[in-house]
Symmetry: C2
Subunit: 284 residues, 2 copies
Amino acid sequence: MLKDGWFYERSFNETFSMGWKVKKVLHSEQSKFQKIDVVETDAVGKLLLLDGKTMVSDLDEFVYHEVMAHIPFMVSRDCKKVLIIGGGDGGVVREFAKHESIQQIDLVEIDERVIEVSREFFPDCTSALDDKRVNILPQDGFAFIKSKNNEYDIIIIDSTDPEDFASGLFTNEFYTDVYNALTEEGIMMNQTENPFLDQYDIKSIYKNMQKAFPIVQSFTAPMSIYPGVFWTFGFSSKKYRATDLLSDKKNEMYKLERSLKWYNMDWHKAAFAISNFHKRKIGL
Amino acid sequence: MLKDGWFYERSFNETFSMGWKVKKVLHSEQSKFQKIDVVETDAVGKLLLLDGKTMVSDLDEFVYHEVMAHIPFMVSRDCKKVLIIGGGDGGVVREFAKHESIQQIDLVEIDERVIEVSREFFPDCTSALDDKRVNILPQDGFAFIKSKNNEYDIIIIDSTDPEDFASGLFTNEFYTDVYNALTEEGIMMNQTENPFLDQYDIKSIYKNMQKAFPIVQSFTAPMSIYPGVFWTFGFSSKKYRATDLLSDKKNEMYKLERSLKWYNMDWHKAAFAISNFHKRKIGL
């Protein structure tokens, strides 16, 4: 996996590479689903790899996890029940658990070993997994969602790239199942890849979302360890737009956001005013 | 320079790397100031390197050049005269030249060879260098600025990293000279590096700007070819804030922004609502 003490991830059809100098390989295993490695780097601290792709680092895990949780929380009118598909590192659970009004957080992660390895090497991320509101369900999210109807206020798709067993999580069939599993004012959030090094056809992903949801919006937040860094995220909603922050929750959030590392409400409202490039790439 | 047909740029004290597969080396020379290379890549098209650092690519040159020019233009009340220090690729000149009300654009580039090489390999960038309002001045910007007083409405610092002959362009002395060279409502724009892989101490750069200017703000735009991609930019102003867009110019900009690849006024207004991370890193 290492070359002269460096880990490299090649992407965009093997034409672009990002690499990190590795101090030490902390863990390596082949689970039932994928290869799981944890390396200690100089630049980004501990780094989790699944099948040789960067997933989570100490340096910037807060960006992804905070935006995925606090944006839909602030828009959802009465958020009691949350579902996270993927996200075995626990980071998104941790952020939702900061809101006392949430009663239930279901985490559906296909690979239990990702959770166990994260508990060992990323204890900050997994710190809320033993919260009594959290249910860990080691199942296939694609199958799980089909059995649910009008149940969750927010559903987060915290997936890997549209390849192998995660490819189903980018289809219209799946987004329609998510729509049905949501309550009538429900919100879906998902990661939607890098539009500069557009190897997965982002426009078709957004088309699939638009077929299922009446409101589809997009924003960007940097993921320093992902290929090309400039990362887009989708906000798909049955009723409220992403900038319709619920005023009842603002006092709670003013207190919380001081302790957050990325999210604040001004940034949230601004994040959906996107560049011409971003609009054209996703076709919105 | 190449390794197995790839160009790699290592940064952040040699702990992080970005690489591009190279189809062909189009040009290599040692100028009086630096090594200048142009390579043809699969991922980002033609790529200009100065001393082995990525400067401009076909894929994303529009991002940097549009934000540097159109943001200050929309805030400046009566912008007649613009100075660009560095920027020998001509991209920022091209964007300012789209505004007919600008009467003079001075380009102070220390290395004439950068301009000549850009004319040959990046003709889109250099397309406005022969506009009759443009003066190309092959001089040291640090010395040039000292001779100017109350002369320019906008000054753009389009520099390389704070190393070698560019390091002076990040000092309080230089920012004070820029302040004096500006008219009384003048605006300075500069690139201020990546706060995740913060090898140049961004906070000290912003402190230097704040000592010279009463208003200092920051925003981010992605530069896919720069180390870590997540790039910050500074907006330093004598009178107006970055979100005070001049209403007289809005009709002109509504027409222009349809043809721009990145900039639009909604994005401009939103870009200055920055994340907690960004605020803390720059100390604003």
